[in-house]
Amino acid sequence: MLFNKISTLVWLIGCLILTSVAYAAEVSVLSSTPNEQHTRTLAASCAACHGTNGNSAGVSPVLAGLDATYFTTQMLAFKNGSRTSTVMHHHAKGLKADEINDLAVYFSQQNRVANSTLKPQTLRVNHE
């Protein structure tokens, strides 16, 4: 019985800690550091071609969940010209090495998710 009571208490405390940790994590995401913001806005500007959080909706490579070392190697290759490209060298050359490293970590931590399917519509008569 005593053991049961102790273990219940331990679990309750455990739950409290877990909840606090979850809450702290949430708050820390909200009050992100300027460098975390720097990386998330820079990473998000890749979305025009590579999708939200690197989940491409088509043709362009998926960056979400990509191995960080692979990402860095490829970006540095675009930057120094050892990997040829039509567009990517114009982006890679504009980035600093630490920004490339931060992007690599950021994208490696993103989950691969399926995009919602966006369907076009018929333009309504009352549109401008």
Partner: protein, 422 residues
């Protein structure tokens, strides 16, 4: 039999404990978001992106309402292809339902009439709404001051510079134009929405005429001294792909238009068109004008590039084409500005400091026919001394038009639409 503490009891206790702790927060979030309410005027590339990313990055702790007068989103990027005939306007038209549903954004279809900064209230034709912070993302407004009669003549002489029925109208005019006809268009003095757009348009019209009405011609009257985006590439395309079709005339600002005869007068000449497309000069959209935020040349809005807060009005941010900046007024740029603004607003409203040196990218494709495209791509970096965004080294344009870049341009559109609208 003594009661043993089973795994099921564990979970029961744990989840009870969890719900006891979580319940008050969940309740608080449902009744009033703890970090406040952001109202966004305009559901274009900039406004819709800001709405989504504020919700995402605040973990839904900031309530967001978008006020947009149109029920549908019609993409300006790719709309020149409607003139060329390889796209329909119905390929470029989307609803807002996924943007609303996926991110819990409140949506009001209405038109803003006044903004009261003292009471922090936006009044619309059919109601009013209070904000803690306001984002104004109204796109462009056309300036008809110099030629007011053109405003009433948009059916005969469409601008087609906001994608929609005017785009369809201009396409129909091209379809009924006889072979041997003359299409005349202008380029307004920069800055205007989409710097390479007019030159892409000339290519799209020329591509259609080349294949269907080969005796026809395109005259481009440019108010600027030269092609102002992708100059080398467009010059080559005009001179080689469309030799004998596109006649490009720089330093040729329109001074007058005779609507009935579709005759344009410039400082140098008179040109009579069969189909005429006049793109008027532009300024920040009307909601930005309501507060006089368009302080630069009475056209564009001066902002702090760390937050996109207006230099004239605290708690009010301006993003997208309305911003005065040495940045191209492109869709990708509008979304990049929107995300820096969203990130800064989330930081400020949760009590921390915004990034002091934002960096973002811009990629802009132009189709030179139905399959081949060219690009300009740059990284832009905050310059702490100048306090503006400047282009980083290493950016540039395509070597030549290619079908591969045509596919990339299509992928760009698919991805940016998906990012903005889902």
């Amino acid at each position: 039999m003594s009661k043993s503490y089973s795994r099921r009891d564990f979970i029961k206790t744990a989840s009870l404990a969890g719900s006891w702790i979580l319940a008050p927060r969940a309740y608080a979030r449902a009744s009033k978001p703890p970090l406040g309410h952001v109202v966004i005027i305009g559901g274009g590339f900039a406004g819709t992106t800001a709405a989504k990313y504020i919700r995402m990055w605040s973990l839904n702790n900031i309530a967001v309402t978008v006020i947009e007068k149109s029920a549908q989103f019609v993409s300006c990027p790719l709309s020149n292809l409607v003139l060329g005939g390889s796209k329909s306007i119905n390929d470029l038209t989307f609803g807002y339902d996924l943007a609303k549903k996926n991110h819990g954004v409140k949506w009001v279809q209405d038109e803003v009439t006044t903004i009261d900064t003292n009471t922090k209230k936006v009044t619309m034709k059919r109601g009013e709404i209070s904000y803690d912070r306001l984002i104004i993302a109204p796109g462009i407004d056309f300036m008809y001051d110099a030629m007011p009669y053109l405003e009433a003549a948009q059916e005969q002489i469409p601008h087609a510079w906001k994608a929609g029925w005017q785009t369809v109208n201009l396409r129909k005019q091209l379809e009924v134009m006889p072979d041997g006809g003359l299409f005349v268009m202008n380029v307004p003095k920069a800055p205007y929405r989409c710097p390479p757009g007019p030159y892409e348009r000339a290519c799209q019209v020329a591509s259609y005429l080349q294949n269907n009405k080969p005796k026809s011609k395109v005259i481009v009257l440019d108010a600027n001294a030269e092609i102002i985006s992708k100059k080398g590439l467009f010059t080559k395309v005009f001179n080689e792909m469309y030799a004998g079709i596109i006649d490009y005339r720089p330093n040729n600002a329109i001074t007058e238009v005779d609507v009935a005869s579709k005759t344009i007068t410039t400082e140098f000449e008179k040109v009579k068109a069969d189909v005429l497309n006049v793109i008027p000069p532009q300024r920040a959209g009307k909601p930005a004008q309501m507060l006089g935020l368009n302080n630069i040349d009475k056209r564009w809005c001066e902002v702090d590039f760390l937050t996109y807060e207006s230099k004239l009005a605290p708690n009010i941010h301006v993003i997208g084409d309305s911003v005065s900046a040495a940045l191209p007024k492109s869709a990708h740029m509008a979304t990049s500005q929107a995300r820096v603004c969203a990130s800064a607003i989330v930081a400020i409203m949760s009590g921390s400091n915004p990034d002091t040196a934002p960096v973002f990218a811009n990629t802009c494709y132009s189709y030179v026919n139905d399959k081949m495209a060219i690009h300009v791509a740059n990284v832009y970096r905050y310059d702490e001394a100048k306090k503006i965004m400047v282009s980083a080294d290493g950016g540039g344009v395509s070597d030549k038009p290619s079908e591969q870049e045509g596919q990339f341009a299509g992928a760009w559109a698919t991805n940016i639409w998906s990012d903005v609208l889902t």
